[in-house]
């Protein structure tokens, strides 16, 4: 059992690298393909989540726990980017419908 644990962790890290790499490829496919702008924003959000997962696996593999701060900062930036892009999509929808944007409100 003392030998089995580290070897199992090593194997699962390799498999996790592979799975996350495939996930990156699929997400980039949706990012390039996505029929609407909102699809691309969803893909960008998913890319940030995959980056967090990849940094976590890398940090487990190399025992470099300083990368955890990078993951938390990436989570913050990803959230703010998603919120900002959602606002852009929303404003674009208002402009396309010729509705005056609520420029003074700011609470939408």
């Amino acid at each position: 059992m003392a030998e089995f644990g580290p070897r199992f962790l090593e194997w699962s890290i390799q498999i996790a690298y592979l799975a996350i790499a495939i996930s990156f490829a699929l997400t980039v496919f949706r990012l390039l393909r996505g029929p609407t702008l909102a699809d691309r924003v969803v893909s960008l959000d998913m890319l940030a989540l995959l980056g967090i997962g990849f940094i976590g696996v890398f940090s487990v593999a190399t025992q470099q726990y300083a990368f955890l701060d990078v993951a938390i900062a990436l989570a913050l930036v990803g959230f703010l980017a998603t919120v900002a892009f959602a606002r852009y999509v929303y404003r674009g929808a208002l402009i396309k419908r010729r509705i005056p944007a609520p420029s003074e409100e700011g609470a939408d």
């Binding site: 962790l9 919120v83 929303y90």
Partner: protein
Amino acid sequence: MIEFFGGILVLIGAAFSLIAAIGLVRLPDIYLRMHAATKAGTLGAGLVLIALALESQQIEVAARAVSGVLFLLFTAPIAAHLLGRAGYLSGAPLWSQTRFDDLAGKYGSDGRRLAGMPRETLMKDAPDRSD
């Protein structure tokens, strides 16, 4: 033993990330894609961070990892809600076999306020900013 549980968590987290990415490609419209990306993607990243917390065996690393997981769990619904609302208002098409669209015709010409809902209930605590 801790390596074993850490490896299990890393594997499950990576599997959820892969399922989320497959759902992102395979599902038919943006709302279903968002369902995959938000829930399964958050769970994947969160499980990997929990594995990191378990594996490090240092209390400060574990605290940072758990705070990162909590941040993900708090922000994912907000981002998904904003994106879904913006996507619906921008006219992203629904799946052809969608049966119910409860919001159909309820956003009106305004694009901001749900029609048919009295203004008082919606803006009860907010000051009047409509004009």
